[in-house]
Symmetry: C2
Subunit: 868 residues, 2 copies
């Protein structure tokens, strides 16, 4: 019976690929096959891991012998021997599964050292400090991962020694200090483990391999696999690699380099080099590395070989590489190559250039870009090179950075903003009364309010930076001051806010402007060719609509009409309507609002030039249009505020419940829409594609009545070819989607509210409170308001889609929540068979890209990632 | 080709049954077959209706001829003729589908009258007033239902005549007045219809039949069928019945009777009789009827015949009958027999007696009782014979009636209550601070708050009457008065409240006490033999637990621990715990609460004597235990109240989110439960069956952590054989029930919260507001908080049950919401395959009965209803 082969030299051909050799092993084998110089070594395959686990954690027959044989080959190949006191063979042991998996043992370096070998290494390198530092690290790493010695025991000994020596940094310890530390570590090891540190390199290796295989089955690793849906039986490989040293003299050195510029994506030399040094030295900050080009003089042969290798690796992997290398006695070794992390701009340029160079196809270029990362290009951001101190942090309520003089009232913001000043509006919280100030401010900062507070929602709609819920902020209105962290400021003082991170900074910080450059455009054009999912924008004003078109939106998926009610000149009329005690008085106020709404819609229809526009009728509870009880100006208003008060307004009189209670409001809105559409067409514009959407429908009968109302009014006005649809934003609407679909020309999932009701999470109360705690504690992996909860909310959406399409197979269905701009959620929408996503204008480019990636993924085209 | 037969004489045998003859037709035919004297007549079958509708509203071939033939038979049989001026044949025309269906034309009486016939009838009966009243009614009914004349035209004419005559009642008009009115009605008819009133009886009949057939297809009837899921093609039958007259002299008369006493269920004569009178006279209140026994003297033959008929009908229908009869010239005619409406007590007695008499089986007895109706036996109620004026109405928040002196504070309620006075606590709203007052009060009345307000929930738990959200109530605390409707009262004034209807009455109204008599017990025992669904109670105190056992609960399905926190002596400690700024301080406060909780649980375990007890760990948001901001007594408290404030507390930091944020709270509760269970068993009681339930779980990971916490604490205390489970009260938990079930020993649907989240209805904000409007407007048929929304919430439950049982086929699943005591919802729970329902102790008997009915229904045994 042939014995299974478990171990493969990096040089050995092997058909098992990544599944058999793991990510690290396949990388080293591939580089070896390419003729790229890597240290010698071998991989214990995942077959061994499976056999080990299957046999109750026993090495399978033959594995010990195979390892011995490969160690002998390694010794022969390197001319060094395990435990040799003059020039010992040292190796690293690393785990490496087919997918990157934190939770497993990672690395033990310097395996093969013992007292004699350390002394030999000290002599050989002329660097006893290095030798004993390596040795004490081995004892610590080995003790911790192989024998389970509590790491604090070693750390305490190290800290004690530093106290005794009166130094604060590890690097201030001498070689003798470290030699002493080795003795302390050995004593700790023996005390904890019950036997001395194993001097025999082969014993060290055997136990280290066993530790890697055991680490596959730790609870942490099991949990990680469960969460990430990684099968338990793929197993991990173990890589044994010869250590090489760049600190053997002037013919040695170490460095890192990129095959292209990771900031800009441009071709050219980009890297750093340090002669006669070990990678450790760079990390420890002992010496400052020099530009890569200096290697040309110091190590000309290795330099040329490196350039050649960089070219080969990029050609092989078809992507920008991030390379670590060491030169030992003039000989180049690549320690690692991996796909290089890069800025958004560099990612775009690389992808476009590589298509031009014929290295990759458009499909691959499109899959390579992380849509989330593009967000940094779509808003002004803090200059990454700027140095500043963060005075306070709040919620990252609306992305982008802004700076300006602070003002405390909307009136003042309007006054100074119109005068051309950059102002930041600072408030406890904002209300609809502040809208004129928000329009003129560069950004807004509030002490209260969550991600869906008034300030946050309005700012996101305007694409304007907002930091909300900033705990470190306190206003003293009488004194006319604000305290931010420890600073007290007055009107006119300058601050900078970063709505992408929630940071608040006192004073002026340089900003980098937003840009959609040619590379970006090119990638988006390719994405448009590849995607099936349509991308619309959420836009409430002609300005937003224009911006949406600019970013490539194919229509408006959500036009919220309530923001139109909040403008300063309208709010009094809206309030008059709400305070009306008779239907007639309400109709009088609505009569005044009608021409205003009509003109809003005309502007939006013109901007969208024949693309579809989905208009949602009034949704929020009426009390949102009234001031607080304290600010009410009449008894009637106070009375109405009291009567409209709700314990849980999220689940109260809003959405279509309003429309059924006050049909005259929806009638006015439908009339305004119809008149606007007709007027726009009559002025010679393309005929508006009108889609009227009823919010918060849960029962068939609600939509039946509102559809009848809509059709009656629209037909009476002479509107033709419009659609009447509904949002699906309640769990009930999902399970009854069949009977709702019968009455709807389209359905749009409102995933913001659907998330709130499905999970029972009030967004206002969750973020910054229990949800934040859940994310910190790992109860949840992701914020369900940012990335769709596919397993919960998504499962309900799938039920809704299935039931609706069962009665109307071609029903147009989409999503209009903030999830519409989240790449992972866009992927879900594609798989679920939706027709379109709708998101804020600034996220339309991301959604276009994510939609293309989802389509490609369905065809099996995904970004290739190596290493990890 | 044989022509279809469309018309059946009452005497004719017919295989088509109810489907062919309709409910009324089959009743008349059956009575005829039994030899019970009914007026002659015939039925036009539902086949005719289908043919008529199918042919575009044309009489099918042969129908006209068949009707003519049967009219001739009727004339021959009665010896009267249509339109005969001396003694005309008069008939009624009535629609009658297989199921009772409002929305269709009902009845036209006196068909066959014209000027000559009316004069003849006047002579014949010696009662011209009756003749002309009958005639004017015919014109009015016929004009309205056959020709669509607006009824107000006739009503205006009648009102005008009364004004002219200076009378207010119809009965004050003389025969001449009515004759004049006939002329006016004929003029109106001609003006509206464009032709004179049809004098020909056959024409009248033909058009009336057509009108019945047309009424099958009116929008109102269509809507009714859609809502009630009645097929469109069952059609209606049309019954033509000879009119008989009880006012032809002393040998005639009219009456109603019951085969048993509809108030008590006892056998015996129960009915009323009026000699020489028509049914109309009784309705119009012209004369007061006499006891049935008086008929024995007046009409001895008919009387004996009636007694015999009553016996025969009861034997035939096996149920108590409500009979209308007329005696014309000594001859008895039954006009109608139908299942008699009865009180709950009568229903129970009848059912038990009829089983004893061998008339019905136990299964039928059990199906006969309306569980909802039993509620009236389980609480004191207003004496049905009492006369009173309702001063104001609020929500029927907790059933039962109570009366007493009003008090305005909990302290005063406690003081006077302990002194033995009956008091009603009247408040704007109640808070946990009022609990000691609620305990001593007979009932509670609040101006604010919905069906789940503090007052409502606590009162329902205590089985105490509560009227909440009473708009007509206003307190003036400074003056020490309350205004109820138009009355202003002071402390000590007596009021009566009816929590079953929401009525508030000034002064003393007699009450009828609650009772479970022997008949009730018997029916419940039978129900217990027949049902599969277990019935548990929601109970939070030893007293409630004892009450639950008394009513037959087989365990506690929901023991809410928060009410234990609200007692006056505990609230300060609870508040101390909430205000604690460190975990340690919180643990100190919890240490004080532990023995209190333990003693609560000991009492409950003892009361349940080995029946299972499901204890839900702390659920409500912490701010519910703090006073209002205005009433806070320290800055720290104010600060904490502010920080705990939530925009939508229903969707905030509550349920297991609390347990994960403050694990020490749940640890204390589990410890108290474990110690209580062990102590109770050690005292020699049956071993408590402990089920620990975690509320508001939406994610597997929440339950995983809380299960671990529970097991750790319970095991450390030495508790054995306990279960750990969860509520399913979020839509997410339903769709992820599979992975939640893996970690749960039982799951209990919390349908109150599941309804709120699935529908997006905050109960506090919906009831009395938009939900009330929806119910009034017919957008919804039923209040989903009272009767489970089977199509929405139920659909999600079905998904949850299916997914959970897919991974754990025998998982114990139940429901613990108020729906657990609603008969229709109990039926759903049976069909959905739940193991148990849990409801308030007072509804346990209803649930036991409803569970048996559901089981019987599944076997095809349902209550038989005739007539309708």
């Amino acid at each position: 019976m042939p014995v299974t082969k478990f171990v493969y030299d990096f040089e050995e051909p092997c058909d098992g690929g990544r599944a058999l050799l793991g990510g690290k092993g396949i990388g080293l084998a591939e580089m070896t096959a390419l003729g790229v110089p890597v240290p010698a070594g071998f991989t214990i395959s995942t077959d061994a891991c499976r056999a080990y686990q299957g046999a109750g954690k026993q090495f399978p027959a033959g594995l010990d012998e195979e390892i011995d044989e490969h160690v002998r080959t390694l010794e022969a190949h390197s001319g060094k021997r395990f435990g040799d006191p003059s020039d010992p063979l040292l190796v690293s042991v690393r785990s490496g599964a087919a997918v990157s998996m934190p939770g497993m043992m990672d690395t033990i370096l310097n395996l093969g050292l013992n007292d004699e070998a350390a002394a030999g290494l000290a002599t050989r390198t002329g660097n006893p400090r290095f030798a004993y530092d390596s040795y004490r690290r081995l004892i610590m790493m080995y003790g911790e991962v192989v024998e389970g010695v509590p790491p604090h025991r070693f750390e305490d000994a190290l800290a004690g020694l530093k106290r005794t020596r009166g130094v604060t940094q590890d690097v201030d310890l001498t070689a003798d200090d470290l030699k002493e530390l080795v003795d302390s570590f050995k004593a700790i090891y023996e005390e904890e483990v019950g036997r001395p540190f194993a001097a025999d390199a082969r014993v060290q290796l055997g136990r280290a391999v066993r530790a890697v295989l055991d680490s596959w089955d730790t609870p942490r690793a099991q949990v990680y696999r469960r969460v990430n849906e990684i099968p338990d039986d793929i197993g991990t490989a173990v890589n044994i690699v010869q250590m090489v040293f760049g600190n053997k003299g002037e013919g040695s050195g170490t460095g890192v380099c990129f095959t292209r510029n990771p900031s800009t994506g441009e071709r050219g030399l980009y890297g750093e080099f340090l002669a006669n040094a070990q990678g450790e030295d760079v990390v420890a900050g002992i010496r400052t590395p020099e530009p890569l080009v200096r290697m040309k003089e110091a190590l000309p042969t290795a330099y040329v070989q490196l350039l050649d290798t960089m070219e080969r690796l990029e050609q092989h992997y078809c992507d920008m590489q991030d390379i670590e290398f060491t030169v030992e006695d003039g000989k180049l070794y690549l320690l690692q190559t991996r796909t290089a992390k890069r800025t958004a701009a560099a990612a775009l340029k690389c992808a476009v250039d590589m298509v031009d160079e014929g290295l990759i196809a458009k499909e691959q270029a499109v899959t390579r870009i992380d849509p989330q990362q593009l967000d940094q290009l779509l808003h002004p951001t803090l200059d990454p090179s700027a140095v500043y101190e963060v005075a306070a942090k709040g919620l990252n309520a609306s992305p982008g950075a802004a700076r300006g003089s602070i003002v405390f009232t909307a009136d003042r913001a309007e006054e100074l903003g119109k005068a051309g000043q950059d102002v930041i509006l600072v408030r406890w919280e904002t209300t609809p009364d502040d809208i004129h100030g928000l329009i003129q401010a560069r950004g807004v900062l509030t002490a209260h309010g969550g991600m869906t507070s008034h300030a946050a929602v309005v700012a996101r709609g305007m694409g304007k930076p907002c930091v909300s819920g900033c705990d470190g902020l306190s206003l003293d209105e009488r004194a006319g001051t604000v305290t931010i962290g420890t600073h007290t400021l007055r009107e006119g003082d300058v601050i900078t806010i970063d709505g992408g991170t929630g940071r608040v900074i006192i004073g002026h910080v340089d900003l980098v402007p937003a840009r959609i450059n040619q590379d970006f455009e090119t990638i988006l054009e390719w994405a448009d060719e590849l995607r099936y999912l349509r991308v619309r924008a959420n836009a409430d004003t002609p300005e937003d609509a224009a911006k949406a078109r600019e970013f490539g939106a194919e229509g408006i998926g959500l036009c919220r009409t309530e923001h139109m009610f909040m403008a300063q000149d309208r709010l009094p009329v809206v309030q008059q309507m709400i305070l009306a005690v008779t239907e007639e008085a309400r109709r009088d106020a609505l009569e005044l609002l009608l021409p205003m709404q009509q003109s809003d819609f005309e502007g939006i229809f013109e901007a969208m030039a024949g693309f579809p526009v989905t208009i949602r009728l009034l949704d929020p509870p009426l009390h949102e249009f009234l001031p607080s009880l304290e600010e009410a100006t009449s008894d009637a208003m106070r009375e109405r505020i009291r009567s409209l008060h709700e314990a849980n307004p999220m689940l109260g009189s809003r959405g279509c419940r309003l429309g059924l209670q006050y049909p005259e409001i929806y009638e006015m809105q439908v009339r305004a829409i119809a008149r606007a559409a007709i007027a726009v067409e009559q002025r010679g514009n393309p005929k508006p594609l009108v889609e009227i959407m009823h919010p918060l429908v849960g029962f068939r009968e609600e939509l039946a009545r509102l559809r009848a109302l809509t059709v009656e009014v629209a037909d009476a006005e002479g509107l033709t070819d419009y659609l009447v649809g509904t949002m699906i934003e309640l769990p009930r609407a999902c399970v009854r989607a069949d009977e709702i679909a019968v009455l709807a020309d389209f359905c749009s999932f409102g995933t913001n509210d659907l998330t709130q009701t499905t999970l029972g999470f009030s967004r206002d109360d969750a973020e910054g409170k229990f949800l934040t705690r859940y994310l910190e504690d790992g109860v949840l992996e992701r914020n369900p308001f940012e990335t769709l909860d596919q397993e919960g909310v998504g499962a309900l959406m799938e039920i809704g889609i299935e039931r609706a399409r069962a009665v109307k197979p071609n029903l147009k269905m989409g999503i209009c929540g903030e999830h519409g701009g989240d790449p992972a959620s866009v992927g879900f929408c594609h798989r679920a068979g939706l027709d379109y996503v709708s998101c804020s204008p600034f996220r339309v480019p991301l959604a276009r890209l994510a939609a293309a990636q989802a389509a490609l993924k369905a065809q099996g085209v995904t970004a290739v990632v190596i290493g990890g």
